[in-house]
Amino acid sequence: MKIYIPHDTSSLSLGADEVLAAITAKYPDIEIIRNGSRGLYWLESLIEVETDKGRVGYGPVSIDDIPSLFEAGFPEGGSMHPLYLGKVEELEAFKRQNRLTFANCGVSDALSTEDYKFEALEKALKLSPQDIVNAVKDSGLRGRGGAAFPTGIKWQTVLDTKSEKKYIVCNADEGDSGTFADRMIMEGDPYCLIEGMMIAARAVEASQGYIYLRSEYPNTAKILQQAIDNAYEAGHLGKGFDLEIRMGAGSYICGEETALLESLEGKRGMIRYRPPLPAIEGLFGKPTALNNVITLASIPFILAQGAKAYQNHGAGKSKGTLTIQLCGNVKYPGLYEMDFGVSLKELLYGIGGGTATGRPIKTVQCGGPLGAYLHESQFDTPMTYEDFAKAGAMLGHGGVVVFDDSVDMAQQARYAMEFCSIESCGKCTPCRIGSTRGVEVIDKIISNVERDQNLELLEDLCEVMTDGSLCAMGGLTPAPVLSALKYFPEDFGLLPKKKAA
């Protein structure tokens, strides 16, 4: 008899450890496995029991449910409890997914080096660096951090740049609100990331790797460090490739790759001018392959199953799967790994079940705080990089934040500017000063002070920020502002408010 209790931060935030303590107090001899989350977060804490009859789930379990679960014979897989779910893989929300990158997440003991086989690495070791780069190119994998740059091309540049020292840096500074896929895989399948980085190291001939992890994730740091220690002990790491975690310090801009490199070097997280590209002159001036967590964690599948197997998923130029993180005010929030191409509407209503509050969905913000707000009229947009760009929006890292009709879009626009003013690194003027002026101008518009002039000023300011900023922080902050203004003018006092239904 085995019980699976996730050590995922979200599960713990809902009391998974307290549930664990209550179970072991009653059954001290039971075998406990700490897995990652399955990503069906409305069912967390989701506890699974493996008996002779198979593996079945219960959720959402809180400490108050423990007595009745025991009564229902929960350690034997008793099905007469309202929280009984049956097999998790057979739940509708799970069946609709294509779990390539997250295949192992939540399934087995996250930290067991015996369960994780490193099969992709074995294959990679038989290939030349160029062959690995070619496989990644053929797969069509693009950077999952948001910019969607073809990973194979980036690696080719690093491979082609001769240097006695090269680095692999993993960007685990998952600062965008509405994103948690990086955290989830680092906690639920850390060896997948480690293996991806080891393959990357072989592909570009790097000897040192760093994972730059945000400090808001202390639980992730603990699990990932344990995984790295175990990987050293099992002899996977330390043979020509070393790996270390470095903690960020609460700065959003350090998710921008050049600011991240500055931070890793022990400096203020100020962005760098490009060129030179980090692939040519990156960390400590050496060629550096800098990739997002999910990008690197997608590598083992590609090497193990082949580029073609990955390429067969997706739509158009958006190959493979997107790890959609559906959250905010939504009934069934979670991580859904699906082929590119599912429509936003299907995601929001078919999978997400509408809002958690039961009110109508007013808008969704995709791609983090720098992503546009989408209006209901755009909900038919298929989730691919190209279709979102056409709709004036951004897919980014795959985060989708849902808002019901109580949201005030003028306040959201103001928040976008305010966030930029707090998190701007300060290097370029449009971002540093523009965001502060943006807050002031939006305040004036809201309180009807010279509204027409200030609207013109805001649009002008947004144009300067878009065209004149050095990086995406200042360059994309206007996206949520202008989309809010365009689609929800009534919230800015520009049109009479629609009467509530």
Binding site: G175, F180, V401
Partner: protein, 138 residues
């Protein structure tokens, strides 16, 4: 957390001084031990890492995490980002106006599917209501 002690701080700095890009790991280690970084100690850090005092001060003041004075016994971070806003996190902020805790803003705890999210010391909590917050703090 222990009270500031220059000798112990010096040991922590020396232990990490040889790392490439050592400043952030050094500052994190100091803050983990003492809860803050004493501004009077900046020259010592600069000397040990062969940096200017301005370099060290610049880094200390750039990052939100680093404190220059000791925090209260409890540090509470309420997520202010969009996903938690959508679930009414601002109500929590209004709720907790008390002097015995250090309230720090945070933009995303990665708990977006279980918002509103709050971090108390190093532990994250999800689906937090004003009542639950009160319970956690009592």
């Amino acid at each position: 957390m222990t009270n500031w002690n220059a000798e112990a701080a010096q040991k922590i700095v020396q232990g990490k001084a040889n790392l490439p890009g050592a400043l952030l790991p050094v500052l994190h280690a100091l803050q983990a031990e003492f809860g803050y970084i004493n501004p009077d100690f900046v020259p010592e850090i600069a000397k040990a890492l062969n940096l200017s005092r301005a370099d060290v001060h610049g880094v200390l003041s750039f990052y939100h995490d680093f404190r220059d004075k000791p925090p209260s016994e409890r540090v509470i971070k309420i997520c202010r980002a969009e996903a938690c806003q959508a679930m009414g996190a601002s109500k929590l902020e209004d709720h907790i106006k008390r002097s015995d805790v250090t309230l720090e803003p945070v933009y995303c705890l990665g708990n977006c599917a279980c918002g509103p999210a709050v971090m108390i010391d190093d532990k994250t909590y999800g689906r937090v209501t004003p009542e639950k917050l009160e319970e956690l703090l009592s």
